[in-house]
Symmetry: none
DNA sequence: ATCTTCGATGATTAGAATGCGCATGCGACT
DNA sequence: AGTCGCATGCGCATTCTAATCATCGAAGAT
């Protein structure tokens, strides 16, 4: 994940770079508004951290120019201007977050994480395990590129298993979270097993390596290697 | 734009609702964590404003449960817990912003705007799917170049489906967003189905490949490939 | 240790019940 | 006339139930 810091104070810039690099981000620094605008618009990073008081070109100007140009990279404003008026201005100019100096570094990092998390919306929308792929809102499931026809229940079941891939899920969990039956699940009732079997027939049987394994006495897991 | 406020203190909730409604948002309020979780997960709004100290179920729990369930709606935490530790926790649990009480209302609104801005793709006047084309302001729909005569309802319905192409939309969503009937949709009431059928007759039946598919148990999708 | 036995757990199958989606038609309103 | 809301009824995919079959693994005997 690439972060661009636009900040003229050298001390602050260095501290930020060091701290963010420790978090495994790839950091570059622009020392002026002009330079920052150029870098952000020619090769947009995944996030911009923007100081407001800059030589040559004010931070607000840089932000406005970027948005004007259609650059939609997330921007976090980091400044000592702390009035409500300043914050509202910054946010309304197109910033995604506004943090006031002095600040706590852990909070900055948390906010950076939050912004970068949002940047990849499709990663939330599509779940994957090996060559099995689920696009959630479209309700489409495919394996080896071939689309599979699942019923509503089967889809919900697989959705739950994919979200908990690697974890063993019990029948009680499935009864509660997929079937929404709070209490009255009985061992006599093998609805779950039936649907698991049906799901297996569609997502596993036609293909080589099985993904849906049963853990005797406990429940089921979705994972790659055989157990 | 729909906002859900999860907040038990009645005074605060009322003030928020009033202020946000003045900004043209459609606001609903949940008085407990339990209720908030239910509302947010069954019918996700465009934004959630979440208090942390709640009866029944703590705000952090609600957030974690929502993310766990794959609900990716933007969440702004609004609380009086103001330590750095609290903020980092909240953001890392999946919140998108964190604002501390007492707060300046204009700042809240600016942050709300910033969050909602991200969710929206910029508006376009002509929507397209395969050879189906809709010019929105002109209210003209055509396929294979031939203009189609749609009624007002049919147009609104198709408009909604086109804006959400590729996503499965439920009857509840249609009842709310196309019919604006907040609550009194019943499964017995098949108005939606009738209009979907009529729409199909006009945009799909005369042509080769169908675009409007039904997803049994869930709703309808507009998309190209057959499923 | 290895083999055998047996109970418990999971898998499979088929048929029954459910509920969903769709067509149709009528009345009301514009 | 055209459009929309609403109700009824049918057909069928989906889901559930229930009964049978397969498999696993621990315990005991050899």
């Amino acid at each position: 994940m690439r972060i661009l810091i636009i900040e003229d104070e050298e001390k602050m810039a260095k501290a930020l770079r060091k701290g963010l690099e420790a978090e495994e981000y790839s950091v570059s620094v622009a020392q002026s508004g002009e330079e920052g605008f150029f870098l952000a618009s020619t090769d947009p990073p995944d996030l911009v951290i923007l100081d407001l008081m800059l030589p040559q070109r004010d931070g607000m100007e840089v932000l406005a120019a970027l948005r004007q140009k259609g650059v939609s990279v997330p921007v976090l404003i980091l400044t000592s201007k702390d009035t409500v008026r300043d914050r509202v201005c910054g946010l309304d100019a197109g910033a995604d977050d506004y943090l006031v100096k002095p600040f706590a570094f852990p909070e900055l990092v948390a906010r950076v994480r939050a912004l970068l998390r949002r940047g990849r919306p499709e990663s939330v929308d599509t779940l994957r395990l090996a060559d099995l792929e689920m696009r959630v809102t479209a309700r489409v499931v495919s394996r080896e590129g071939r689309e599979l026809a699942l019923t509503a229940r089967e889809f919900d079941l697989l959705h739950y298993l994919l979200r908990n891939q690697g974890r063993v899920v019990s029948r009680e969990m499935l009864a509660r979270d997929v079937w929404q039956e709070t209490a009255r699940y009985t061992p006599l009732d093998n609805v779950i097993d039936v649907h698991v079997a049906n799901l297996r027939r569609k997502i596993d049987e036609p293909f080589g390596n099985k993904l849906l394994h049963t853990v005797r006495g406990v429940g089921f897991v979705l994972r790659e290697e055989a157990s």
